[in-house]
Amino acid sequence: MSEATSGTAGPRFSIETEGRTWRLWTLAAAAAVLVALPAFVGRSALQDLFFVFTMLALAQYWNLLAGYAGLVSIGQQAFIGLGAYTLFAATLVAGLDPLVAIVIGGVVAAALSVPTALIVFRLRGAYFAVGTWVAAEVFRLVLAQVKQLGGGTGTSLGPQITNAMVGLDWIADTFHARTPVARDIAVYWLALILLIGTLALVYFLLRSRRGLALAAIRDAEPAADSLGVDGFRTKLVVYVATAFGTGMVGALIYLQKARISPDAAFSVLDWTAYVIFIVVIGGIGTMEGPIVGAVVLYFLQDYLATFGTWYLITLGALAAATMLVAPKGLWGLIGERLDWQIFPIRRRLRQR
């Protein structure tokens, strides 16, 4: 392999990724501001940011699947629902602290994603997409049979559980806040932690050898295969990691909602359609795109959600139109033109 470049007088190349020091400091500063935010803004702002952070984390995971691993799933609601139901089971039935239950939610979602993957990975492309949806429906219908968790109508977390979370008293004392406000601050921080963890996970995965393998599989699977990239294994790792993260986010979302039903927790509209919208509008296949998309969705939601059906018609049409007219999304229109990236995951070939 290396003979071709080193032995002869031909051109020599090196593969480079952009540096990260100043970016890391900028991002750390942004994170510090967000951590301190509850001291300065009110509850409704925190709730809005909770929505943006959780949707953005979900969008990053879906983007990792569809934009990098070529696994277009329309069944990610499976892992939202599994994480959320695990949280309810762990707190209501097993009496665990919600914080622990969120992590268990991720673990259970990841564990169940393995047998799911072994079945749906038999389907290719678009059929894989519908297959993941069937899997999500199976989980929904099975959980609707569990009477201890409310069956088809669902159940709620009482204040004796949500108010007993570790650290809530400390927040209440520090911010001189009542318990419901302290809860909002706590779930806001948890959402921020999950979001930062998600961004770090996706970033380091994509910069790693496995990320290179992913790009190779996406661009030419047979060629990658012939060079020894294990496509199945790489995709499985990404699918399970995504399920773990999605499960934790699902658990957190339903800790905040404190009320669950199978139809809501496994809703394809809430947990997959909006997420796809964010990624497609923002720009699929980049880490920055979903950030733009999440902000766009937040403002659309704010201004148009009262129009109900027309809001959804607009979203659907906008996503379809973006795919046709500007398949790289808003970030593709801005970021690529400026040759600018917040998360330097692109590899460049440079002639020495």
């Binding site: 492309g125 059929y127 199976v138 059906t309 959804l312 018609i313 379809a320």
Partner: protein, 289 residues
């Protein structure tokens, strides 16, 4: 024992309905490798079209159905020509995401136009009529016509595929679209005709969907899933396989419902997953992806 036989007969009849849902999906996939995520919503759209035509023109359901079939052909032709042809290519994302967006647009458009109320297509005395088979088992006339229609449509599509110039063009485009184009076939037009045909079949499916049970704008995605399961169980590219696939899902659902009414839908999905585990390419695979 007789009760179980009855359950299986009802399941086979239900399978006829699922085969009708699936025939269009199977046709489209066979010709242009497109998976239309709005397929179920288009069936529901056709049902509302029949309902609205009957109400607006003051005619009965069957007369409205006769108008709806060519109308749905036109909708399919236009949809493919103006929108879906632009999504086809090597990348699977554009067709998936555009049809997913379309699904949301159709669902909410119907919700806006017809509200979330449950509707039913009135078919007069036919709805209650049944044929006794002896031993206390009786089959409804409408479900029987439904199964007959499914078989007729599959025979018809097979004849069209293998005995007509259009069918030859379909097969040529399916096998190698670039070479077909070199031979003077307008792929864009062929795809549009195929989608038109698929949606005309959707109109037939809609008649039986709407007369068998109630429907509302939100039931489309579930129809897509049943259709999809029938196609995969039957094996990609085989229309007869699709009929068998529909029957497998139908029988699994009625048997599941007989054990516990809440398990009906789940049993259909489980049958699908079992087939996927043991015969990942379906029961009668024809095409290789």
């Amino acid at each position: 024992m007789l009760a179980w036989l009855d359950t299986i007969i009802q399941g086979v009849l239900l399978g006829g309905l699922y085969a009708l849902y699936a025939a269009g999906l199977s046709l489209i996939f066979g010709i242009m490798r497109l998976v239309n995520l709005a397929h179920g919503d288009l069936i529901v759209l056709a049902a509302f079209m029949i309902l609205a035509l009957a109400a607006a023109l003051g005619i009965d359901t069957f007369a409205a159905f006769v108008i709806a079939v060519p109308l749905m052909f036109v909708v399919g032709y236009g949809l493919q020509r103006l929108l879906l042809n632009r999504t086809l290519g090597t990348d699977i994302l554009p067709p998936l995401l555009v049809t997913f967006g379309l699904s949301i647009v159709i669902q909410n458009g119907l919700l806006e136009a017809f509200s979330a109320d449950s509707q039913r297509l009135s078919i007069g005395g036919l709805s209650g009529t049944s044929v006794p088979l002896g031993g206390g088992i009786a089959v409804g006339v409408m479900p029987l016509i439904n199964l007959g229609a499914a078989i007729l449509i599959i025979v018809g599509l097979n004849l069209l595929f293998y005995r007509t110039p259009v069918g030859r063009a379909f097969r040529a485009t399916s096998d190698d679209s670039e070479t077909a184009q070199l031979m003077g076939i307008d792929n864009g037009r062929i795809y549009a005709v195929a989608m038109g045909l698929a949606l005309a079949v959707c109109a037939v499916a809609a008649l039986f969907l709407g007369s068998r049970a109630t429907f509302d704008p939100s039931v489309g995605p579930a129809r897509l899933i049943y259709a999809f399961e029938a196609v995969i169980i039957g094996g990609l590219g085989s229309l007869w396989g699709t009929l068998v696939g529909g029957i497998v899902v139908g029988v699994a659902q009625t048997v599941g419902a007989r054990i516990n009414p809440e398990w009906q839908i789940l049993a259909g999905h489980v049958a699908f997953l079992i087939v996927l585990i043991f015969r990942p390419r379906g029961l009668f695979p024809r095409t290789i992806e």
